[in-house]
């Protein structure tokens, strides 16, 4: 397919991982305590994303969520913005503000979290989420989703459960977990988001052609990956939580 | 006595026997200069003679309801504004008001509590061009409930405006007579083209709804057989 050997006969991927290994996942909470109500930093391999949450608040006149008249009586208005600066990629490329692909991701994420936030607690409020991509090496949607989950937790917004997301690619019948850019360019992949420790999917996005027969293998590997990420996020949240608690006493 | 002729704007309306007492209904203007009647819409001319009074009006089939005083309507509650409920009579049009006290025996302390999405049967109380349209749920002749108020359960659906008027004003409409012989049901007809229907059973409700909706396009002679067919196909 290409000059690069994406998956060697010995079962080693281009960056030395096995098929079911995640990249290094590190996360931080409350990275921007002064400027936001909740913030997080997520790093998956070389993909780095910052997420800031403002809210829940009454309404902001300068948001594109609309004025007070548009407030929803049954739940919050969630507005998600992805900022993808030119330097985030290997190749410097300026993205328009109204890039259709990014807008679509925003809508997908928005709908995903509207069902995850305990919406009845936040009627007539606005929650604004801003994501800045510092560096992108594959798994844009997955990184953003994980970062939003952590930032919402940091902001103290009630969620039913964690939403953890991961991308899974397919190489000659073999599912590969957590793809990087090189793999994403050549292989088709799907991104799935899992709720907590269940097998329930909140988010599925697939943009490339994929044999239907392999879908099951991809999803089941993805769910395992998501559960692992959820564990890692949970550890981080508990770490920060105990730290906060110890300072209080 | 009723007779019908098709009228198109620009036509002259023949007044066969000019009487001193004449009432003009919707869609007809009186030209004072030459004492003519001018139709403003296309539709069927209805002439009704009652004692020494003749009523002229044009029955036309529009799609959008415009509130008129004393119309019976079905509306959906979409919100509250201070002392009033906001009620929608049409999709995508201006909402109208229903005072929270416009119910029989309602007081400040004791009044019906409506939620967003509730369905009500009401009467148009006021419809001024300069004011917001207002509804109430009191029968003006008795001061009692008179069938108005919250519609519980059941299903509401839309029909053409003219058809809704036909059903409401003709107590022996064929389709309803036929349905009466088929099953028991509660019905509320709003002239804003909405009908609410309730029976004991889901399937019956759906069969009734389908019959009423489709009977708009049936001729009178077909009704009986087609309703039978619908009930049969839904296993009733």
């Amino acid at each position: 397919m290409s000059r690069l050997e994406l998956y060697s006969p010995e079962g080693i991927r281009i960056d030395g991982r096995r098929f079911n290994e995640l990249r290094q996942f590190t996360s931080q909470l409350n990275t921007h305590p002064n400027v936001s109500d909740g913030s997080s930093y997520v790093q998956q391999g070389n993909s780095k994303v910052i997420c800031l949450v403002q809210g829940p608040m009454e309404s902001l006149s300068n948001t594109n969520a609309g004025g007070a008249s548009k407030l929803d009586h049954n739940g919050p208005i969630l507005s998600i913005n992805i900022n993808y600066p030119p330097f985030a990629n290997n190749v410097r490329k300026k993205r328009m503000r109204n890039d259709r692909r990014l807008q679509e991701l925003c809508v997908v994420l928005k709908r995903c979290f509207l069902k995850t936030i305990v919406s009845k607690n936040y009627a007539r409020t606005v929650i604004e989420v801003n994501i800045t991509v510092l560096s992108m090496d594959g798994g844009l949607l997955a990184c953003c989703c994980n970062a939003i989950t952590l930032a919402l937790i940091d902001a103290g917004i009630a969620l039913y459960d964690y939403v953890s997301a991961i991308s899974i690619g397919l190489y000659n019948q073999i599912p590969l977990l957590d793809m990087n850019t090189l793999e994403e360019n050549d292989l088709s992949f799907i991104t799935i988001g899992v709720v907590g420790d269940s097998d329930k999917l909140n988010l599925v996005l697939c943009e490339d052609k994929l044999p239907l027969d392999n879908l099951e293998a991809l999803i089941s590997l993805g769910i395992e990956g998501c559960h692992r990420i959820k564990q890692l996020m949970d550890e981080q949240v508990r770490l920060v939580g105990t730290d906060l608690l110890s300072k209080k006493q | 006595m009723t007779e019908q002729t098709l009228i198109i704007p620009g036509d002259d309306i023949n007044i066969s026997e000019p009487t001193s007492h004449m009432t003009l209904g919707p869609n007809i203007l009186h030209n004072i200069e030459n004492n003519n009647l001018i139709p403003t819409t296309s539709g069927f001319l209805n002439v009704q003679t009652k004692k020494n009074n003749t009523i002229y009006y044009i029955e036309s089939n529009t799609k959008r309801y415009i509130p008129n005083v004393n119309d019976f309507v079905i509306g959906t509650v979409v919100g509250t504004i201070s002392e009033n409920y906001r009620v929608s009579l049409n999709d995508f049009s201006t909402t109208v008001l229903l005072n929270q006290l416009a119910f029989p025996n309602a007081t400040k302390k004791n009044r019906p509590f409506l939620k967003t999405g509730d369905l009500i049967y009401a009467r148009v109380l006021r419809s001024d061009p300069d004011l917001e349209v207002e509804l109430d749920c009191i029968d003006p002749t008795t001061g009692k409930e008179g069938g108005f108020g919250l519609l519980n359960g059941g299903l509401n659906f839309n029909v053409k405006l003219a058809f809704a008027r036909y059903l409401l004003f003709n107590s022996n409409a064929e389709i309803l007579n036929k349905l009466v012989s088929k099953c028991q049901f509660e019905i509320a007809i709003g002239v804003n083209g909405k009908i609410w229907l309730k029976t004991d059973d889901l399937k019956t409700t759906i069969a009734c709804m389908t019959s009423i909706q489709q009977s708009q396009n049936w001729s009178k002679s077909e009704i009986s057989n087609k309703v039978d067919a619908i009930f049969k196909s839904s296993g009733l």
Binding site: L201, K209 | V78, G117
Partner: protein, 309 residues
């Protein structure tokens, strides 16, 4: 102004109650589509009107010769224009702010068609090349949404792909640097090369026990239905769109939020969609075959004119 359909609680509870008993208001079963009606224009190429129940869209394919993009000299141009105008329903307004509900729907629909047909390579863009780096065909599909009663995604995908399959571009001859285009009467126009037929199937999900049950409970008894009407779409708690072709390839899949659905349920949906796609593909292909037979070639047309005289 109320800028939405007003759905009463009576309606939504009734519909949900009926769905629990496997009944829909129009008498269908949960996993049954409405009647698909495809009208192909009898006297021109590349114009179709497709309707599913009351939902109706039209698609027109046109082409012209332009210069290819510099970074892709061997590929022709292909674009799909899908703008939902208020023609089909006052629900869709023109010129909305970027965050309103309607424009979100519109964005998702247009992105979805784009991914399902363009990105999945349904149209072979390399076959549109005339002279590498110099001249190529630019094919454009314009979607018009005519009437809205739910399920725009599935129907618009069908409309675009049928229009593309039906379209014939004028035949041409390359003479050195010059291109000679032939009129439809002079030479039989050539069809576009369609590599596969993607078909979208949208599932709507409902939970009989409400929203919260879905997140907290363990039961997986979500109600699933396809080809929703407007009312069903409005009260749905989540949807998922699959795009498949007859070769059992998944071209695109999106489930944005909504109810959380168990992976096994999703796999069942896939199997079901696969069956439906097979049926629909067969239907489309037989329809196009019948249409092709009914059309007279250029020569025959000319003879017909002579005969008529």
């Amino acid at each position: 102004m109320a800028r939405d359909f007003d759905i009463s609680t009576n309606q939504s509870t009734f519909v949900l109650e009926a769905l629990k008993q496997n009944i829909r208001l129009d008498g269908r079963k949960l996993l049954q589509m409405r009647d698909l009606d495809i009208h192909i224009s009898p006297d021109e190429y590349g114009y179709v009107e497709v309707s599913l129940g009351k939902t109706k869209v039209a698609c027109r394919v046109s082409s012209e010769i332009t210069k290819p993009y510099e970074d892709r000299p061997f590929e022709g141009l292909f674009q799909i224009k899908s703008e939902i105008s208020p023609i089909c329903s006052p629900f869709f307004e023109s010129g909305l702010t970027s965050n309103s509900k309607q424009s979100n729907d519109e964005l998702l629909i247009s992105r979805l068609i784009e991914k399902a047909i363009r990105r999945s390579g349904a149209l072979d863009v390399e076959s549109l090349c005339i002279i590498a780096g110099e001249k190529c065909w630019s094919v454009r599909a314009d979607l018009q949404f005519l009437d809205y009663d739910g399920n725009f995604t599935d129907i618009s995908c069908i409309a675009v792909i049928v229009a593309l399959m039906h379209y014939r571009k004028p035949d041409l001859e390359i003479d050195g640097d010059d291109i000679v285009l032939f009129n439809v009467d002079q030479r039989e126009p050539t069809p576009l090369s369609i590599l596969h037929i993607p078909i979208c199937i949208t599932f709507q999900f409902y939970n009989p026990n409400g929203d919260v049950e879905n997140v907290k409970g363990d039961s997986n008894d979500e109600l699933i239905l396809i080809d929703s009407t407007l009312l069903e779409e409005k009260i749905s708690l989540g949807s998922m769109t699959l795009t498949l072709n007859k070769n059992k390839e998944l071209c695109q899949m999106i489930k944005s939020g909504g109810l959380n659905i168990d992976a096994s349920v999703i796999m069942n949906c896939c199997i079901l969609a696969n069956k439906l796609v097979d049926e629909l593909t067969d239907k489309i292909q037989t329809l196009l075959k019948i249409d092709a037979l009914s059309r007279k070639s250029g020569m025959e047309r000319e003879l017909q004119v002579v005969n008529d005289r």
